[in-house]
């Protein structure tokens, strides 16, 4: 289990953010750190890996202290046994796919490395150098390489954000499958709701540097504030008056819909508002989030 209790001042886009987190991450679970950009999601992973230092607090892995500001303990990244999948994958371009894995292993073992490549469908690519691979292949090699490290925990920093929608969706399935095979405690940073929902056992939702919600994706993303089952989040694109009624155009994911509202309702709506659209009985209800 990874036990974290840390605080750090971060310089965000909107000024200084006090990042504070107390959280325990259970073994073998797939966690996602969810939230807007610039609130310390990546920094959290980097602090766990030892690439950045918290101002205060402690980080413990299976009882072993990795960081403790009071006891002045701060283990260097080399001693922490974390696998880190970087956003740009950070593959070593001068080494072949297999050599990338061998370099990552604590003890060089070709057959073990090949087993990992095999399990991930990469064995045919083992002699290739990274810059001859596609984006999706590079991502998988980066994942395979971090598994070859035999880490205690796998940290994934928006691993799929650089890929097109189709590859992304396919790799989400692969990531899930890989997690099921290797059973590594994983922490993934993502700001894509669908991805988070699809992959995670647990979600840690951060807002302004603090925990906003924590729990299973179903509990978090299926809103409990409305009793309706039919509910979508969207953004108001346009409000237009037609005779006595108003037509509100709303973008929901990739769909654009029009909803009729009356004058009393339209008062509090503005273009750009993020809203919930839900139906109870027949009439859609719109309310500001």
């Amino acid at each position: 289990m990874l036990e974290i209790s840390i605080s750090k001042k971060l310089l965000g886009a909107t000024g200084v953010i006090d990042f504070e987190l107390i959280c325990n991450f259970e073994k073998e679970e797939f966690w996602t750190i969810f939230g807007e950009s610039g609130i310390g999601k990546t920094t959290l992973l980097r602090m766990i890996a030892g690439l950045e230092t918290p101002d205060k607090g402690s980080i413990k892995m299976d009882g072993e202290v990795w960081f403790d500001s009071e006891k002045k303990i701060n283990l260097i990244p080399q001693k922490r046994k974390v696998g880190f999948v970087f956003q740009n994958y950070a593959l070593f371009e001068n080494m072949s796919v297999l050599q990338n894995l061998l370099f990552a292993q604590p003890h060089k073992n070709i057959s073990k490395a090949e087993e990992i490549l095999e399990a991930m469908g990469l064995l045919a690519l083992k002699e290739r150098v990274p810059n001859t691979l596609s984006g999706g292949q590079r991502q998988r090699v980066a994942l395979a390489r971090s598994i070859a490290q035999e880490p205690k925990i796998l940290l994934l920093d928006e691993p799929l954000s650089a890929l097109d929608a189709l590859t992304r969706s396919r790799l989400q399935d692969e990531l899930k499958k890989t997690h099921e095979i290797f059973k590594l405690t994983s922490l993934m940073v993502s700001h894509d709701r669908l991805e988070v929902f699809k992959l995670s056992d647990q979600v840690l939702w951060l807002k302004e540097g603090k925990i906003f919600q924590i729990g299973k994706p179903k509990e978090i993303f299926l809103s409990k504030t409305s009793s309706s089952k039919f509910s979508f989040e969207g953004e108001i694109l346009n409000i237009e008056k037609k005779d006595v009624i108003y037509v509100v155009t709303i973008g929901i994911d990739k769909q654009i819909v029009e909803v009729v509202v009356d004058e009393s309702e339209v008062q509090e709506l503005q273009v750009g508002n993020i809203i919930n659209v839900s139906t109870k009985a027949f009439a859609p209800i719109i309310k500001i989030r």
Binding site: L51, G83, F86, F92, E93, N94, P106
Partner: protein, 231 residues
């Protein structure tokens, strides 16, 4: 043309090439740690160190040569130390030329390496660290292979610059056959002696040689190198 068959005619060229190879070799040993330190370490007097390394770019070679001469003579600090260790002073000796050339060509090695280190993907370095690899191993296995075009650039430019150096070499080396008389000095000598045909022979060969090196650089290394000449 008969002079071309005389081995003493070629001696200055042999000396030039030897000097350039030895200088370049030592510049790698010195330049890589300095550039690495400048690229990845935060410290207060960085600007001072950078200015010192870049000095040979702006100082007249005669100024450097003059100070080298003072330091390298048997009364100078380095010269006296050298005499104790190896039995001869540094001034007017090949060893002195090597040390002078190393210092004089240092920016031509450090600047390309520094830009290579700075352009290096930081995440690859961090990835190697999370894999348990120490700084030295990361430098050797990850960073240096990734910046090999900078290494090649630094080497070629330092080599070419050492071949073309005149002022510093003249000041500290003088003009001793087979010891310090490199090609550029030989040309100066022949002109002084109004021996224009010899000066022509030396000059033309040096001209062709320098052109060949630069042409090779532009063909083989392409755009990455071109900027470094103005570093």
């Amino acid at each position: 043309m008969s002079e071309l068959l005389n081995p003493t005619f070629w001696e200055p060229f042999g000396l030039t090439i030897k000097l350039a190879f030895i200088t370049t070799f030592f510049l790698y040993l010195v330049g890589i740690p300095i550039a690495y330190y400048l690229a990845y370490t935060k410290f207060r007097f960085r600007a001072v160190l950078e200015a010192i390394i870049a000095m040979p770019l702006v100082l007249p070679p005669s100024v450097l040569g003059f100070y080298f001469l003072l330091a390298f003579s048997q009364n100078g600090f380095l010269g006296a130390l050298w005499k104790d260790l190896f039995g001869h002073q540094l001034a007017f000796h090949f060893d002195g030329l090597v040390i002078g050339s190393i210092i004089f060509s240092l920016p031509f090695m450090v600047h390309p390496l520094l830009s290579g280190f700075k352009a290096m993907d930081k995440f690859q370095i961090e990835a190697a660290h999370t894999m348990g690899k120490g700084k030295f191993q990361t430098l050797l296995k990850v960073i240096l292979p990734a910046i090999k075009s900078s290494l090649a650039t630094g080497g070629v430019i330092s080599f070419a610059h050492t071949v073309g150096e005149f002022g510093v070499v003249l000041m500290i080396g003088g003009n001793i056959d087979g010891e310090t008389k490199v090609a550029s000095i030989a040309i100066y000598n022949e002109v002084e002696a109004l021996n224009y045909s010899m000066a022509h022979s030396y000059s033309l060969i040096l001209f062709a040689f320098s052109f060949a090196i630069l042409w090779l650089v532009y063909v083989k290394l392409g755009n990455e190198v071109k900027g470094s000449f103005h570093a």
